[in-house]
């Protein structure tokens, strides 16, 4: 029984099949990467797994429990967290408050306690704030905790989303292009962070364009093209798969992948 098992997922939009019978499994502590050209259906696959879209066919299970079609907040409750390719930040809040929202599931106050400002709510606020601070430090944003998220640079927001997702203490973490638009130093930091997260036992599903990063940290790689599975396996096998080289990596990509593997 896998931590996350996705079977035969499919959806189409107005006759266009965006995801066509894709499946994969993720185990605790694994980094499972999904690559493929733009428009291949990677983000749509994430949206199907995290309940934003309801699949037309297929199944999503976590530790044996079927979760297909559940609302996103219920999936979060079962240990699924994600980040977004097109940032979904709470721009009117500070960096710290963004991560505090991520602690929502561990908060135990009632509406009445919150209304009357009872000690329970103040205590909860303190606990949430402390936990959020630790996470901000972990992604290297401790110094900007009280800065309005709307004023932070793109690279910082990418890491802020990771901190917020981690705040929920997920079993499965789905990252949609966390290193996109980041410089080499930032990418390196994200690389370490992802490895660290996986080491703590979380199953990480990663969509990423940076081939070097993917080949270096993935346990398994799934290649999507036009909504379909082109190949799946350990990074080395995938890199040498002729279909993949032809359809996706191309000459340039293969060379990059070689360099990463070397």
């Amino acid at each position: 029984m896998s931590l996350l098992a996705v079977e035969d997922l499919g959806i189409s939009f107005g006759g266009v099949i965006a995801v066509d019978g894709v499946g994969f499994r993720v185990e605790p502590g694994q980094v499972f990467s999904i690559i493929g050209p733009n428009g291949a259906g990677k983000t749509t696959l994430f949206n199907l797994v995290t309940g934003i879209y309801t699949p037309h066919r297929g199944r999503v299970t976590m530790a044996g429990e079927t979760l297909t079609g559940l609302a996103p907040h219920l999936l979060a409750r079962r240990g699924m967290s994600r980040t977004f390719q097109n940032l979904q930040i709470f721009f009117r809040m500070t960096a710290l408050e963004n991560v505090m929202v991520g602690r929502h599931l561990s908060e135990r106050t009632s509406l009445l306690s919150d209304l009357f400002g009872l000690p329970a709510s103040s205590r909860q606020n303190r606990a949430t704030r402390d936990a959020a601070r630790v996470l901000l430090e972990r992604v290297g944003l401790g110094a900007v905790a009280d800065t309005l998220a709307g004023a932070l640079p793109y690279g910082a927001l990418k890491r802020l989303e990771i901190a917020r997702a981690l705040a929920a203490e997920p079993k499965v973490l789905l990252l949609d292009e966390p290193a996109a638009g980041c410089n080499a130093v930032e990418t390196e930091a994200i690389d370490h962070l992802i490895a660290d997260i996986a080491k703590s036992g979380v199953g990480v599903v990663l969509i990423e364009h940076d081939m070097k990063l993917v080949m270096k940290i993935s346990d398994r790689v799934l290649v999507l093209a036009q909504g379909r599975r082109l190949a799946e396996g350990p990074p080395r096998d995938v890199r040498e798969n002729p279909d993949v080289i032809a359809a996706y990596l191309g000459d340039h990509g293969a060379r990059e992948a070689d360099r990463a593997g070397a």
Partner: protein, 315 residues
């Protein structure tokens, strides 16, 4: 020192209390006290919208409907059922909360303009009911509200109502400030910015919106009940579309999401028309113009703009 004060949770409360104590000294006439009491009541209703619109980002163009509901509860309860008016104040609030719970479920699935129109429709229906169910509501002329007695003392006179409404507003502000700084407030502000990310963090977006809608309705109903009891009269006009728009304008002019802003916005829209009556037929035009000028130059609202300016001065 001042900077810390500006950021402290209950600073608003102390400032508000100070103003409430100062007004009777600065303007010691029954007329001014009555105007101020009306400001406190509308500020209380606007606070409900601060929670719904300012925190949660959900618009309601029918909120005066709940105001009317609270008013008619205080009028009808004692007149038809012989109930205590104070009890009816709470019954009206409970009724408004229950109604908001029922209509909120389907309505709050809508977003943006659609939500605006749906709430507008809801408000119009309520106003229509108050207008046409004359057996119960007295029709277009409205109905008288029995005098309120609390522990054997009759609530009468401008000064008494001034303090009753001021106290109610302070309690309302206290609760709104608590909510803002709590896990619930964080969830509301989160879904305001991104529903997808809020849901991803495990927030039941639909339920939180509904809670904000119900709380907003209860605020408005309390305010409506106080208004009716204070005036000794309630008419369908209380629930009119114009009043709904006024409530929204108060929250936006004062500063969306700011508790003090709701009070300042209410003062703006209650006091200015009174002050502008000297302009006679130009009153409405000048009021409209002033609203436009304020929105153009202080788009974030009066209070947030002032606060930001003060904080920048201090740092």
């Amino acid at each position: 020192m001042l900077g810390r004060l500006l950021r402290a949770r209950y600073a608003t409360l102390f400032l508000l209390a100070a103003i409430m104590i100062a007004v009777p000294y600065l303007a010691p006439s029954a007329f001014y006290l009555r105007v101020a009491a009306v400001v406190w009541v509308f500020a209380l209703a606007a606070l409900g919208l601060t929670i719904l619109m300012g925190y949660a980002g959900q618009v309601s163009l029918g909120h005066a409907g709940f105001l009317g509901l609270g008013g008619y509860a205080v009028a009808i309860g004692p007149a038809r059922f012989g109930l205590d008016p104070v009890l009816c104040l709470f019954l009206g609030a409970a009724l408004a909360g229950a109604l908001a719970f029922l209509v909120g479920r389907p309505i709050l699935r809508l977003k943006g303009y659609y939500l605006a129109i749906a709430t507008l429709g809801f408000g119009v229906i309520l106003a229509l009911v108050f207008h046409s169910e004359s057996d119960w509501t007295g029709g277009p002329d409205g109905m008288a509200v029995a005098r309120v007695t609390v522990f054997g003392t009759r609530l009468a006179g401008a000064a008494t109502w001034y303090w009753v409404t001021a106290g109610a507003l302070l309690i309302g502000a206290f609760l709104a400030l608590n909510i803002e700084a709590s896990p619930t407030g964080r969830a509301l502000k989160a879904l305001h910015d991104s529903e997808v990310a809020a849901a991803g963090a495990g927030i039941d977006v639909g339920r939180k919106k509904l809670a904000a809608f119900v709380i907003g309705a209860i605020y408005a109903a309390f305010a409506g009940g106080l208004l009716a009891a204070m005036n000794g009269l309630i008419t369908p006009d209380a629930a009119s579309f114009m009043h709904s728009i006024e409530l929204v304008a108060m929250v936006i002019i004062g500063g969306l999401g700011s508790v003090l802003g709701a009070v300042v916005g209410a003062a703006f829209l209650v006091v200015l028309p009174q002050a502008l009556t000297v302009l006679q037929e130009y009153e409405q035009a000048v009021l409209g113009l002033l609203i436009m000028v304020f929105m153009i130059f202080l788009p974030a609202g009066i209070v947030p703009t002032l606060r930001k300016w003060l904080l920048e001065r201090l740092s």
